[in-house]
């Protein structure tokens, strides 16, 4: 009983378990259960389930229904059982999968100890403590909702509260005693725990877990702001420690008040066994059955995909003049857009690469007071790119004006603006249009402005960042991108670099719809920066030495694809000769047609749009949808994502993957030893894997790991959403984003030789963890004969698909209107 309570260590460990989602503005997808990533997938899930009470799989009934619908195949179940359990046990477990019944009552470890307050004293501490605590935190962290800000600036949360208490007639607390505790600068968490929980230090740690997981959203936010203060534009100093201290004080205060001081430390009244949070877990049969279902569900889909890849017979077309080439983000939403471009113009080529296009920097638009980071979240760039041009006019909407909340101005507002609101509401319902309330992908950068990409020795630094890139820095980045996707020869006259962004309105999660590789911003600036770099003769000269000969006739053009509206904007200011202008005009028509068709393909998921209409009509509806304030699903974002292909385009050109695949172009011939492949996998595993797992967990447990339905959400301090006014913050994705998602892990398929891939993934332990613990499933496709190898327990083992045949679809249109559900894999374009 003499386990020592080490405050710093416990808090450090606790922070690791809390949700790590940054404020809404910086929404970046990540593995929700990152704290368990050091364990193999199924074991991690079971641990999280037992300790924290999360649902980690689909419910059993749901799996059985999928099986009855034929979405989970019997053959696959059989194989999964054979592989996992051997022939003897397969039969019994199959019986359990199909018929066993398990009681549903979940008793997670977390919460049990603190739940004793209710048992012993019939007191509901949460309802006494949380509203005040959330109010204090919200007001302290608030980024701009309140009119009268937290009155103390520049101090930490705890110091600020102390100052507030010292200089106020009104107290946060009910009793002078607790007030006195707060004002004592030597106050320690362990002192308070001794009062509340008792002398037994073994219980202290567990109590803190219980306490913080009763509001994991707020605790997670505090923990993120503690570690990354710059994630709030208006920075704050706060530590999880402060939060815990204040909460413990509020608890003591509430107990004193409610029970009139007649209470004892919690340990005194414990009459039952309370399992320890950190103890090893007992494997349960139910979770094992669920994990078997999960494997079967996943492989039922993977198997088709792999068979499809083996069956499709599209060969690389012999070298001929290309009409244009396009670089796109690996994003699953670009999948179908690229397919339509290729169908409309068979002599074009499309490539996929992470949407920051290998150029990492901070960006400052004209008039901007801050920098935005435009590269994947883990990278900290050393460069700054500035927009040059005239100041933008920001659209204003008086409805967001805080003056309407003042009683006198509010009086004027409601008598005047009030009637205008009725007109606006009417217009918004019957004729939705762009408004200042819309978060549009175009706002990111003005089309007519220009960017300062070149380094200038006279104006070299700003706040420790280098302004612009030097020539060799540019050449390195352009080389990196082009070699990693295998575009090193045979350049077309125009190479488009297409970033992507999204537009939506009434959507606090707008940042999650933008490009994840640009830290939740649109990719337009990056596309333009890369194009400018690649168009520089000095850069091309260096590239030529390194084996990439970009002809003079080739020009790079930046563009932005708005994935919600299916619009495209070209930053075509660099096209100066008539020849290019004409060429570009022709391609632009192709792009527009492809976008119409893409809009049509997307529309099949939308209840409010009739997919049988013409592409142009549907496209117009899609645009209206993006600016409709009553539309909680402007687009479906990454929902249904399941695959990631790293290889040449020909590998999947003949497959209909239903917009479920990330696609990273890669040519094993350009990279025989896996140097570029290493960089690709280093990014693809956490980025695509993170997106995939965030969708997975938000889908299987919308209550605790996702944000639940977004309809009742209330915006807190501009950094998070909660239900109602007293609720906990809701990290994760709202159900409207995930409801059509099938929770399957990402199947990462790499086209290279198994031995090269094996040595590549072993280079960095943090990347290897994703594969060795099965958080992402890895399959290698042999580039010469398309034989398959699955990565299992550290080795590649040959794989033969069970699927016999993949159907071919001639008329894609007919297929698209047939239903709203996820499609199986089909062969297309097999000529």
């Amino acid at each position: 009983m003499s386990e020592k309570f080490n405050e710093q260590e416990v808090i450090h460990h606790l922070k690791h378990f809390l949700p790590a989602q940054a404020p809404l503005m910086d929404f970046v997808h990540h593995n929700t259960l990152h704290a368990f990533q050091h364990l193999p997938f199924h074991e991690a899930l079971e641990t999280a389930h037992v300790k924290l009470g999360y649902q980690v799989y689909f419910p059993l009934d749901k799996f059985r229904a999928l099986h009855a619908d034929g979405r989970i195949s019997d053959e696959i179940i059989q194989r999964v059982l054979l592989e996992k359990l051997g022939a003897e046990e397969a039969e019994t477990w199959k019986g359990k999968m199909l018929y066993a019944h398990y009681d549903k009552v979940a008793h997670p470890r977390v919460g049990a100890l603190r739940g004793q307050w209710k048992k012993q004293y019939n007191i509901d501490l949460d309802s006494l403590v949380h509203p005040t605590l959330f109010r204090l935190l919200g007001s302290f962290l608030d980024q701009g909702i309140s009119i009268w800000n937290f009155p103390i600036d520049g101090k930490s949360f705890l110091e600020a509260l102390r100052e507030l208490e010292q200089n106020s007639w009104v107290s946060i607390f009910q009793s002078q005693k607790t007030r006195g505790y707060l004002l004592n600068p030597l106050l320690k968490i362990s002192d308070l725990l001794r009062i509340l929980v008792g002398k037994n230090e073994a219980l202290h740690e567990q109590y803190l877990y219980d306490q913080q997981f009763a509001h994991q959203g707020w605790s997670g936010m505090v923990s993120v702001v503690e570690d990354l203060p710059q994630t709030l534009l208006d920075t704050r100093i706060i530590k999880l420690e402060d939060l815990i201290l204040v909460e413990l004080l509020l608890e003591i205060d509430a107990l004193d008040y409610k029970l009139a001081g007649e209470w004892q430390a919690l340990e005194q009244g414990i009459r039952e066994f309370i399992p320890k949070f950190h103890d090893p877990i007992e494997p349960s049969e139910e979770l094992k059955v669920l994990s078997l279902w999960q494997e079967s569900f996943e492989w039922s889909y993977y198997d088709q995909v792999l068979k499809g890849i083996q069956m499709e017979r599209i060969e690389k077309v012999a070298t001929h003049q290309k009409s244009f080439q396009g670089l796109f983000c690996i994003d699953d939403r670009e999948c179908s857009f690229r397919r339509y471009l290729e169908n409309l113009d068979p002599s074009c080529d499309t490539y996929g690469t992470p949407g920051f296009f290998g150029v990492e920097f901070f960006y400052q638009p004209v008039g901007g007071k801050f920098y935005s980071k435009l590269c994947p979240a883990p990278i900290t760039p050393k460069f700054l790119i500035k927009e040059v041009g005239s100041e933008k006019m920001l659209g204003k909407d008086l409805h967001f004006s805080k003056h309407s909340h003042h009683f006198l101005k509010g009086w004027l507002f409601s008598q005047t603006l009030g009637f205008w609101s009725a007109v606006k509401l009417f217009a918004n319902i019957f004729r939705p249009s762009m408004s200042p309330a819309t978060a549009s992908s175009l706002q990111h950068m003005d089309k007519i402005s220009s960017l300062r990409v070149d380094f200038d020795a006279l104006d070299a630094q700003e706040n420790g960042l280098q302004l612009g890139f030097k020539t060799d820095e540019m050449a390195n980045r352009v080389e990196g991108v082009l070699k990693s996707i295998g575009l090193v020869e045979n350049f077309a006259p125009i190479v488009y670099v297409v970033g992507h962004g999204a537009s939506s309105v009434n959507n606090p999660h707008y940042a999650a719809y933008d490009c994840g590789a640009c830290s939740g911003r649109a990719g337009s600036v990056n596309a333009r920066v890369l194009s400018q770099m690649a168009n520089k003769p000095e850069v091309r000269a260096i590239l030529k030495e390194r084996g990439i000969d970009i002809p003079i006739k080739t020009i790079f053009v930046g563009a932005l694809h708005d994935t919600t509206r299916d619009d495209i904007v070209f930053y075509d200011d660099q096209l100066d000769s008539d020849e290019y202008i004409n060429l570009h005009a022709a391609h632009e028509i192709t792009f527009r047609k492809a976008l119409d068709l893409n809009a049509k393909e997307r529309s099949r998921r939308f209840e409010s749009i009739d997919t049988r209409k013409s592409p142009a009509e549907i496209h117009e509806k899609i645009r209206v949808r993006s600016v409709s304030i009553f539309e909680p699903r402007p687009e479906l974002n990454h929902a249904t994502n399941a695959l990631c292909l790293v290889g040449r385009r020909e590998l999947s050109k003949g497959l209909f993957l239903d917009r479920r695949s990330f696609m990273n172009s890669f040519d094993y011939q350009v990279d025989p030893d896996g140097t570029y492949l290493f960089n690709i996998l280093k990014a693809a595993a956490p980025v695509c894997g993170g997106i995939n797992l965030e969708y997975y967990f938000s889908r299987v447990d919308g209550e605790r790991l996702g944000a639940g339905t977004k309809l009742p959400h209330n915006v807190m301090g501009l950094f998070g959403v909660a239900n109602g006014i007293d609720g906990d913050l809701r990290p994760g994705l709202p159900s409207q984003m995930t409801e059509v998602h099938d929770p399957v892990r990402l199947l990462l398929m790499v086209e290279h030789f198994p031995e090269v891939v094996l040595s590549t993934i072993q280079k960095a332990p943090e990347t290897y963890e994703w594969f060795i613990h099965d958080w992402v499933k890895l399959v290698v496709i042999h580039p010469e004969n398309k034989s398959l190898y699955v990565f299992k327990e550290g080795y590649f083992k040959p794989y033969t698909p069970l699927t016999k045949d993949i159907q071919e679809v001639g008329d894609l249109d007919a297929l698209l209107v047939s239903n709203q559900e996820n499609f199986p894999v089909y062969l297309i374009n097999q000529n």
């Binding site: 919460g111 739940g115 009155p151 009725a422 006014i725």
Partner: protein
Amino acid sequence: MNLSIFIWIPMIGFLVSLILPKKNETLISATAFGTLGIQLASAIIFAVIWVFQGAEPIQVNDIILFKNEEYVFQIDFLLDYISAVYLLVGALLTFMVTLYSRYYLHREAGYKRFFNTTLFFYVGYCFATLSGNLETLFIGWEILGISSFLLISFYRERYLPVKNAVKVFSIYRIGDVGLILAMWASHHLWGQNITFSQLNNAELVHEHLMTHSAIGIFISAMFLLSASAKSAQMPFSSWLPRAMEGPTPSSAIFYGSLSVHIGVFLLLRTFPFWEFQTSVRMAIAFMGASTMLIATGIARVQSSVKSQIAYASIAQIGIIFIEVSLGFEKLALFHFAGNAFLRTYQLLVSPSVVSYLIREQFYSFIPRLKTLEDRFPKKWQYSMYLLCLKEWNLDSMMYQYLWNPLKWFGHKIKFLNARGLLFIFIPLYFVGIYLQAKMDLLTRPWVEFLPITFSLIGLVMVFKSFTQRRSIRVSWLLVIMNHFWISLAISFNEQYDSTETWLYLSGIVVFGIVGYWCLQRLFTQEGKITLQRFHGLSEAHPKIAFVFLLACLGLTGFPISPTFVGEDLIFSHIHEDQFVLAAFVSFSFILDGLAVIRIYARVFMGPYYKTHADFSSRYF
């Protein structure tokens, strides 16, 4: 043209929406916005014709529900410019919001329930705003209360919405009883049930109030109590932000606009009554002014967008109260319409606030923007800030002065075992009946003493029902017993027609049995459940949940049961000098509503007890 058409259109729409298949979203939403579309169109046409014809008030005496020599309960409607404005604003907003919700709620599990409840709410709104007398207003008032409860607890599988719905319901219940007491007193003042248009007869009102000034003040005070509870004025303000638990459109239209302005409507309606009571007008102005100041302060420190809009709206309603008290009725109506539109729209676009304000911050951030309050002395500034942050303790005050005394009293009568209560007091009840039959033999003090005693016994019953946690069935029976005791108490008051008692008790008995049967059925399927925690059984037993809800409504005297008329009737038999009796009976009514709703909430709402541990996190 008959005004009741504006009740029938939404009523039919509501009834039709109840029987539609749950899965058919298109049909459900079409029914809702079709209903509202027809209502809006006919209201506009009607209003235009009415204005062209001179805009004379129209009073319609519709249906007589009950009548004897001294008492008439009838449904009356009145259209004048007040109800016309409320009718049009309500129809327009509800129409637009149903259209909005058609897509917004797509795929939501409670899609049908949402439109059902919205239409039901709208029926209540029309009843209230078109009402021609207090009784009709009361019908609407009750419907608004229960539909608000259902809308706030729309996400009934979660803890906070249910908790807040019960909280709001209890405040509404105070408003209800204010209205019942106003009806009771005015019945005695006029000697009959009076219509609103009669109130406009200044001479008549003046003449009555001359002789009964005390009761006049009492009635006005009750109106003010009801109005301020319903319109979230001081000290009731804290319910409004807590009502924002449902989907944003329902919060926007009901708690942002229509529902909170009903209190204003009551004041506008009864204005002729208290027009000459200067003290009442001052009280209203004072209440409005204090609300305006305090709510503005609270709104300024809110860091969540919906609570900010809620408090800003409350402050505006405070101003409307002042306007009404000053007699600027037209201005108040104009202000109501503007405020309703503004807040509805602000709430509907509130999710956009993130991208809008962050963009604004990005381009025009000024560190530490100075506000008015920075000029205050530090101690004042900090104290005011904390006070506003704690909402002036309004919410905890509701606990302190409302719940805690109840719990304290419940604690005091702990020695009364609930089951024992039943066994002792059922025989005792028969003694009561015997005494009543032999009333001629009793002396005068006894006749005065017995009704108060019996109503007190009734009160204790419902108290026990409200505070005990063990047995659901006993709680339910105690509520029924309460009604029996009340009717017994009143029957001592005078010789009156026993059919009135039967009218009152028939609803109680029928719905009481239905409810008991529901509980019985639930027990056989689920095993024993208690009132210790939420069980969330509505998902597993939707049919029982629905029938039991009806039983609850019937038992609390909702206008689906004869008890509704009976309640009013019973009150009319309490003499105007029997304040104690009136207090006990009205207190019982508050409590039995709460007790019954508590049972419903604990059994059918909240997190499902089979999937959620007792201690699992509830604040999401």
